[in-house]
Symmetry: C2
Subunit: 433 residues, 2 copies
């Protein structure tokens, strides 16, 4: 049983609810949209992640007695009574998990009463902003790594629960495995790991440490070879494990130079199949920089879990249409200049060129046109009348990401800063724009 | 009942355990130290946060049947049997929560068998690295804000559970309140909040929205005045609520200019006590930049929960001493150049000058000398023989932070990039250094 997510919420969602209940406007039918006005500075594409977690959070969004007691002093009695029966009964459509996105892409379209929909704002944004930031960084890293596997090992550098979500998001964006055991347990992400410097230091000698490790974990294990002297450790490793040694790990120093030296040494010792894994402060640039070095895998920590410079996305959750006092649905939008939004319920298509590569993100209001043979409809049903219908295996999200990334123009492969690789075209039937 | 934290752990902690159990080295007495080799680039001081959460996590670190089942395929049967009885029985000392710290400060000193202590590495680092990063940013912000209150409202920009921890850490570092309801519930952090743009847009007119809000939440509420036209909204707000209107909130535009205009308008309407709260993409620099503007409070979101450019600390958990095969305790340290560490169990004093300001962080090995009248002992007992003894009210951590920050040299007040304001002096009895 998942714990309730109801308190993972901002205070003002509850006070707005109280006021709207008292004012008779809480039941107005509304459309909220979760989207991003821009990508993080310099990024070419975004990656939607957290969809599966958001659906779980929505389902677990119930006010049990403990939650209601916790709201004593926050809202009044009628509001508490209303909350005790809270259950989301609306509809949600959204981009599939792993899909790439662009400024203005309607990542979630939530239709329900104001009261039901406004309460979900904080937890939906928390999940989408965090998980998508990790996935965007992960996607750049797995692209830079090409065919070589990336392993997520950043748990210790981020909040202990964020770590689990980060491992999951990295897997969606192409990482092969994680060090995080909770991600293995909860989400089935493959986990991996062998030993740290403390294990070597625990033993009287490095040789003792290697023997103990190989005896217990087998010759296929990965030996950490940079506690004292790398060349001596590599020699010892092959002496202890034989030429069938699985891998050696380098966690410090000039990784490119070391990898060449270690590869040469391993080959000279006959350990041709022993892999070299590197793990020190890597990001997508360092991974790409090691492209010519004889490296067989990348372990990525800090830079992955902190989004490689962009630890959060700028996603927002905005009211874009609502029923007015006559019962008519009406598009609405804030009118301040900098944060202006685009009112009305959206549809979204990815338009493809004749070469099969994506050409534009087409986002419109009004009735969605048929996408036709050269466009994909980007919105999939996630919740219908309160029932979650969009759950899928994590492998599907992973496959969707790889396919969506492949479809992007070649500029998406560039790690350098630049504009989003697709323009977002807005289609508004009222202006013909 | 807290859920077990046992799986919030890296895979390799478990495989090291298996190997050490099989190799007969798992029960060697060890000292692990949690510390940071440096502060984030340019920062003048660090702030320890997460201590109370870490103690909870340590207490909840038990392998229940579900956890053991989840480790099928990770470790062997003897290891699972050992884990089923796991309970930390060692000792932990550490810096009190809220204390400032410097490179090399021994933030936690964990003494136990290798097996017991190594398993805690990941979850302790996750908590310390995250919470301390938030607290360090928060401390700069509350200092920049001076007597004006800072309110934490970044939940939507970070993982939903990281958000709760961030609200807690910000409170430790001087924030007055949070928007996060779970932080209120779990940690007693005061929560606050009123309304969003969606609330204004829900209503047919801004006047309707203000009336509904004031009727329900009282004239002391905060009205959001930048949905359409600020001056018109301020006029309306005072018309609806009267001159007793609690506050207005500005969430966009040039906040300094707007604050002056709004203050003038409020005063001209007789609403002299109506406060002005600003909330748009603030960080410590923006807060300081508004120092001369008539602003009464700062709501801080993204930059707080992402550590204002430094979303994690570089804290590590290293074996610094262990029993050897003869049963003698021996200092140990990795010998690679860049990541070299300083072996041996540490003590730490904050040395104060005659003016009462701190002069140095003194960290040594060997028997701790008496701190004397001009030094403070920085290590406090947190766990004794497996029992948590270091729990304290969050208010104590908050008070400790403010006192510790006050004691730092004036350069700590500088927001500009620079060296740590205190040097770390190492005292090693074996070298006399």
């Amino acid at each position: 049983m998942t714990r309730t997510t109801a308190l993972l919420t901002d205070h003002y969602e509850l006070t707005m609810l109280q006021a709207a209940l008292a004012g008779g406007t809480a039941e107005r039918r509304c459309v909220f949209e979760l989207f991003s006005r821009s990508l993080p500075d310099g990024r070419r594409y975004g990656v939607v992640a957290g969809v599966g977690r958001a659906l779980d959070a929505l389902e677990a969004f119930r006010f049990d007695q403990e939650s209601l007691d916790a709201l004593d002093g926050v809202v009044d009695e009628p509001t508490l009574a209303w909350l005790s029966a809270y259950r989301f009964s609306g509809d949600v459509q959204g981009y599939g998990e792993g899909e790439t996105y662009f400024p203005g892409s309607p990542l979630l379209v939530v239709e329900a009463s104001f009261a039901e929909a406004v309460l979900l704002e904080t937890v939906l944004l928390s999940i989408y902003n965090h998980d998508s930031a990790i996935a965007a960084a992960a996607s750049r890293m797995t692209r830079a790594a090409g065919d070589r596997p990336c392993i997520e090992m950043g748990s210790r550098r981020t909040h202990e629960e964020a770590a689990v979500a980060a491992a999951r998001a990295a897997y969606v964006a192409g990482f092969e495995a994680t060090s995080n055991l909770a991600a293995r347990h909860r989400w089935g992400v493959p986990s991996t790991g062998t030993s740290a410097h403390s294990f070597t230091l625990l033993h009287d000698t490095e040789a003792d440490a290697f023997r103990v490790q190989v005896d217990s974990l087998g010759v296929g294990t990965t030996l950490l070879v940079d506690t004292y002297d790398v060349a001596e450790a590599v020699r010892l490793g092959v002496e202890v494990a034989g030429t069938g040694l699985g891998a050696v790990r380098l966690d410090s120093g000039d990784l490119g130079v070391l990898a060449h030296q270690v590869r040469e040494q391993l080959d000279s010792l006959g350990a041709h199949d022993t892999r070299i894994v590197v793990t020190s402060d890597l990001d997508e640039y360092a991974i790409a920089g090691l492209g010519a070095a004889p490296v067989d895998g990348y372990g990525v920590g800090t830079q992955l879990v902190t989004g490689s410079g962009h630890p959060t996305c700028g996603m927002v959750y905005k009211l874009v249409a609502r029923e007015d006092s006559r019962g008519e649905m009406e598009p609405v939008a804030k009118r301040s200049s900098k944060k202006a939004s685009f009112g009305g319920r959206k549809w979204a298509h990815r338009h493809l060129g004749t070469d099969g590569y994506a050409e534009a993100e087409v986002v419109g209001t009004g009735p969605a046109p048929d996408p036709g043979p050269r466009s994909r409809d980007l919105l999939v049903p996630l919740v219908r009348a309160g029932e979650v219908v969009g759950r899928e295996p994590l492998a599907d999200a992973r496959a969707r990401h790889l396919a969506s990334r492949e479809e992007l123009p070649l500029a998406a492969q560039s790690m350098s800063r630049g504009e989003p690789v697709l323009p977002t075209r807005r289609v508004d039937p009222t202006t013909g724009g």
